[in-house]
């Protein structure tokens, strides 16, 4: 077994093209997913059939594997009379999937807000939009950011499944290179490395944000040496 880096280096334009598409579809799904999730969370506080509809929507998106959702959107769109390229269908599926995860984050954040903020803002005469913009949104940003970054890393990883419908992202390009070189080891190590790099950069962002937001934690600080031996794990997760 000898590693042949030339296999990967010779195909660098394909890896770059794949990385660009992966970042593109993830960015679109991020923006679209957050927007959809905001609407979902806003609506989920209303009652009646809207609430039920939202619960069904979230239940389906969380209970079905992304790869199945991807095929459902891709093969289902023509039934709605909409014929779109695989890139569009894949990005749409990822956006829907992302909306379910982001709405979980947003909902938890909203419920975590101190009670009465909204009412107080309205009571001092702020308009709905002003209350949202100046009171609610800034308070949500800090606790919502780290889990949002985590969900975003999950979405970037899920986007690899789009290769199954021929979207030219990183995994697809890896399969193409593998097919031409018969060198799966080198190719998939390289592809894994590129995904890891993307996740690493994003998680550094998350750590930086977490540090900026950190407000001291009670329970673990009071621990003594014996408890520390069992309750704190050393290996750091990057």
């Amino acid at each position: 077994m000898t590693l042949d880096p030339a296999v990967v280096l010779d195909s660098w334009p394909l890896f770059v093209a794949g990385t660009v598409v992966t970042l593109q579809v993830s960015a679109i799904a991020f923006v679209g997913g957050i927007l959809l999730a905001s609407a979902i969370v806003a609506l989920s506080f209303s009652g009646g059939w809207i609430r039920v509809a939202i619960q069904v929507y979230l239940g389906v998106l969380r209970g079905v594997p992304f790869i199945v959702l991807l095929f459902l959107v891709h093969f289902g769109m023509p039934f709605a009379g909409i014929r779109m390229p695989a890139y569009f269908n894949g990005t749409l599926a990822l956006t829907l999937y992302a909306s379910a995860y982001y709405s979980e984050v947003l909902r938890a954040t909203v419920l975590g807000l101190p009670r009465g903020q909204w009412e107080s803002a309205r009571a001092i005469g702020m308009s709905r939009s002003a209350a949202t913009r100046h009171i609610i949104a800034p308070q949500m940003l800090r606790p919502a950011l780290p889990p949002t970054v985590n969900s975003t890393i999950t979405m970037i990883k899920e986007s690899s499944v789009m290769s199954a419908i021929t979207v030219g992202e990183l995994t697809y390009q890896g399969l193409v290179v593998q097919g031409n070189t018969f060198a799966p080891f080198e190719v998939f190590i390289a592809v894994a490395g590129l995904y890891w790099l993307i996740a690493f950069v994003l998680s550094r962002v998350a750590v930086a944000v977490e540090r900026a937001v950190a407000t001291g934690q009670g329970a673990s600080a009071r621990r003594n040496a014996i408890g520390e031996r069992y309750l704190a794990l050393d290996a750091r997760a990057g």
């Binding site: 077994m1 239940g59 389906v60 969380r62 209970g63 079905v64 594997p65 992304f66 790869i67 199945v68 959702l69 095929f71 459902l72 093969f75 289902g76 023509p78 039934f79 890393i153 990883k157 899920e158 986007s159 690899s160 499944v161 290769s163 199954a164 995994t171 890896g174 593998q178 060198a183 799966p184 080891f185 998939f188 190590i189 592809v191 894994a192 995904y195 890891w196 996740a199 690493f200 998680s203 329970a219 673990s220 621990r223 003594n224 014996i226 408890g227 520390e228 031996r229 069992y230 309750l231 704190a232 794990l233 050393d234 290996a235 750091r236 997760a237 990057g238």
Partner: protein, 219 residues
């Protein structure tokens, strides 16, 4: 295009039958992942620098790369190192390793919130590390993280669908085969979606029952 309801109904039994493969795979994977995750957790608590460095790299790698690429590495790349695995074995090991890492992270979260009191008491009674893990820490830990373990279980069930890509004949691949044979991929795919949904709903219901049981056992 019109939805062929007859074809949809026709394909459902075969997809439903194939879902038992997903369930079996998920059970094996979950058992391996829980064992692996617990092993990793205990290893991390040993605080040996070389070991922890290696585990840290593993965690970072698994969390930073797609499960699909991990499956490809096990299936396509390991043979290049002389390790030959069938699609089922490669897939089970890949998902189990992935979940083991997420489970050890869940455990880390659970441990950091745990009361050190019982451990101090056990130490004072002269129990040794293996006993403390087995009798004190782990039972308490598993009770705390049960809801998150169940959540990991649904992630594992969903992960088994990815094995269709390396030709494991489970619910999704069965749906794809039916779709390809009839040139109507959508109807069986709806069937596959419903089947996965049903499995995960059942799992969620079981989790509810288990949680209530534990809750009363604790009370």
């Amino acid at each position: 295009m019109k939805f062929d309801f007859g074809f949809f109904l026709e394909s459902l039994p075969r997809i439903g039958e194939a879902a038992f493969t997903n369930i079996q795979l998920a059970i094996v994977i979950f058992a391996l992942a829980t064992l692996g995750g617990t092993g990793l957790t205990i290893a991390r608590a040993l605080k040996r620098s070389v070991l922890n460095g290696a585990i840290g790299i593993l965690i970072s790698f698994v969390r930073g790369t797609p499960l699909m690429i991990q499956i490809f590495l096990f299936f396509y790349a390991l043979p290049a190192l002389g390790v030959r695995l069938s699609p089922v074995h490669a897939g089970v090991l890949a998902i189990a390793l992935n979940s083991a890492v997420f489970i050890t992270e869940i455990m880390r979260g659970g441990l950091s919130g745990m009361d050190p009191g019982p451990i101090e008491a056990a130490t004072a009674l002269g129990l040794r590390a293996p006993q403390i893990w087995g009798l004190v820490v782990l039972p308490q830990l598993f009770r705390t993280i049960l809801p998150m373990l169940v959540n990991e279980g649904t992630i594992i069930v969903k992960g088994t669908a990815l094995l269709s890509i390396i030709t494991v004949v489970e619910a999704l691949r069965t749906a794809q085969q039916l779709g390809a044979a009839n040139f109507r991929p959508f109807e069986p795919m709806v069937g596959a979606g419903l089947v996965f949904l049903a499995v995960n709903l059942v799992l969620a219901a079981c989790a509810g029952v288990a949680e209530r049981r534990y809750a009363t056992a604790r009370a």
